[in-house]
Symmetry: C2
Subunit: 388 residues, 2 copies
């Protein structure tokens, strides 16, 4: 299954000093991932508003954004507040707004942060317009468009779009534009399918913007985004900005979709062997779901990696060795069913690295990244933002 | 599916002031759960060493333990260090020891903590004996016994048991006893099956202890434990202590196993409605897998609760309403397939409570508990211990 050659090498000395389990970030691979999407997007005249929810790290964010002030996308107001605190000044909070969160949105705007929000209902539009009037501060809003039936949003041909726009622009808020997220692209595989998804995503949101403009709304922002479609868009005509997040680390799900190679995955969990049962072909490590997350995103893909693909301490995958079972603090490593590979020699105390199914979910189980720089040193620790 | 009556009531005023998503703990239900297991175990002459890994909270631990000094079980050394810091002095670290963690174990013992460890291999026994000799401090060890093929451990009839014991007692460490965890009981349903599992768990570890004593080892500790078997044990003859953890909160998986009722579940995630699609019967809330975890433990049970069972803000389950899909910060509520129930009226801004599949996993997504006391007040916040 995994074609890379494996040689048993000792773990780099520095890794041996880390307490396991812990989260490792390969800075070289991260930089390569950043350069790749940047190169792809530079061929279009389009803005880039990276999603900071995967990394939730000030250090990683500073490498993802085109300028220290943004633009940026976040998934929680806790992220918005933390990034605003270090000078990010153009932030999109891309989860449908709850009325109870509007006071925090207003507080950030009063601090000078150009924070915009999203919604897809008349009820939310009314609440936002009311809060805008009461604060004497028109809140900028993107209307979420449903481009693939995946999640929330208004269909581009739904008359509801005009009702929402009329409330926003007429009652004190400000319709800033339209936004969509082709979340359905995570279920696709390969170039042709992803190119089609990217074009459908673009068409949905450009259509919505055109209809709104025809109805007299300025609608300056047309925002699309998902890691698969961002990498496979062939046209971004009419789109003003692209969002993407998980590409910074990539993961096994993205490899299964065909957006990256396994060798591009920059994130892994360092674990230690704590048990071995040769009869049953099981190796036990000190990373269970608490360190790996319960995400089983590859279960529905062609190649199921269990709770993660196991590599040696230098990051090279062992042929067919996966985390097949996860308890709270135990992971059980076994060869894939029907694998012809041999169980590698993993004595008690040996370190392994486990590649994640879903980088967002695995990273969320940890409070910091241990960063492996280009020299193989791991002396940098980058904390993560948590909570809501 | 859910027999409880539902009436649309307003959320208690205090809950409205919380930012969502957040973790709620019903103190009354927790106390009831604690009293129930205490009552069951008091009929036996057996010690109780609660597992603190579910709650990871000093305040909850103080209510679970029989004395402020313990005994207690933990799943990470970070927990051991935190609980030692508030006076817990008798702690079992119940994950197979990694040689790289022995210095932290020794440091805790030097602080006067009676910390014991577990292992199941000759290699670990040698490392522990060596560290004991070098520190001039015999580390007390429980040998993990495999009672049901679920995870790690030595079979009670395996000669390996004597080899490990001989190394520990002969080379500088100390064989303190034997321990098992009937993790397989999580896959069972109902009283008869759980009573059998409890008896198999007891027999495995009592047999191992007898064999060790016959070979000349003192083996004073005989430790069993899992929430299902702890509640259904009919005999604990030969057992010196029982461990259990998730019973303090309970969850949907435990309800599916038949250890508790849904009404016993003390933990929930408070969320806010942020969208509604009547045509597709979907309600969107601001709690996705980041707040709920990716745990799908009920997927293999008779009643699949998706990512959680949805209740009104007062904690009463809506008939057949579950979290059927979870993105990072969005949960999608739908009625179960083929349900005859009506989608409840959940306007934008309404609060709901979501009961967890697996309390350990859901609690781990949060940094604190918002505690609802017997008066319905939610002004207590109990922080959680995190990391390793």
């Amino acid at each position: 299954m995994i074609a890379l050659e494996h040689r048993n090498l000792k773990a780099p000395a520095a890794l041996r000093e880390l307490q396991t389990p812990c989260l490792l970030l390969d800075e070289t691979k991260m930089n390569r991932n950043l350069a790749r999407l940047d190169g792809h997007l530079r061929q279009f005249e389009v803005g880039f508003r990276p999603h900071l929810k995967t990394a939730k790290s000030i250090e990683v964010a500073s490498r993802m954004m085109r300028s220290p002030a943004g633009p940026a996308t976040v998934s929680t107001l806790a992220e918005a507040e933390a990034f605003a605190g270090v000078g990010v000044a153009d932030i999109l909070y891309a989860v449908g707004i709850a009325p109870g969160k509007l006071q925090r949105v207003l507080a950030l705007r009063r601090r000078g942060v150009e924070l915009s929000i999203i919604l897809d209902s008349i009820e939310q539009a009314r609440e936002v317009a009311k809060a805008s009037r009461e604060a004497g501060m028109p809140l900028p809003v993107l209307v979420e468009i449903d481009s693939d039936g995946h999640r929330a949003g208004v269909r581009p041909d739904d008359p509801l779009l005009f009702e929402i726009a009329a409330i926003l622009d007429g009652q004190g808020a400000r319709l800033e534009g339209v936004l969509t997220h082709a979340g359905g692209s995570y279920d696709l595989v390969g170039k042709a399918a992803l190119e089609r998804a990217a074009e459908e995503e673009r068409l949905a949101v450009v259509t919505a913007a055109k209809r709104l403009r025809a109805a007299g709304h300025a609608c300056p922002v047309v925002s699309v985004g998902s890691t698969p479609t961002a990498h496979f868009a062939r046209s971004l005509e009419g789109v003003t900005e692209v969002r993407a997040g998980v590409f910074v680390f990539f993961d096994l799900v993205m490899a299964g979709v065909g957006v990256c190679a396994i060798d591009d995955i920059a994130l892994s969990v360092l674990a230690t062997v704590i048990g071995l049962n040769r009869d049953s072909g099981r190796v036990f490590v000190d990373a269970g779901w608490m360190a790996l997350s319960r995400d089983r995103g590859t279960a529905s893909q062609d190649v199921d990696h269990g709770y993660g693909l196991v590599c040696d301490a230098a990051g090279r995958p062992f042929p067919d060795l996966i985390v097949s079972q996860a308890n709270q603090e135990h992971g059980v490593l076994t060869l894939r069913p029907k694998s012809g590979a041999r169980l590698p020699d993993l004595p008690i105390g040996a370190q392994v690295r486990i590649l994640p199914n879903h980088a967002c979910a695995t990273a969320a189980q940890h409070s910091a990244y241990h960063v492996i720089d280009a020299n193989g040193s791991v002396d940098k620790v980058w904390p993560r933002i948590s909570g809501w």
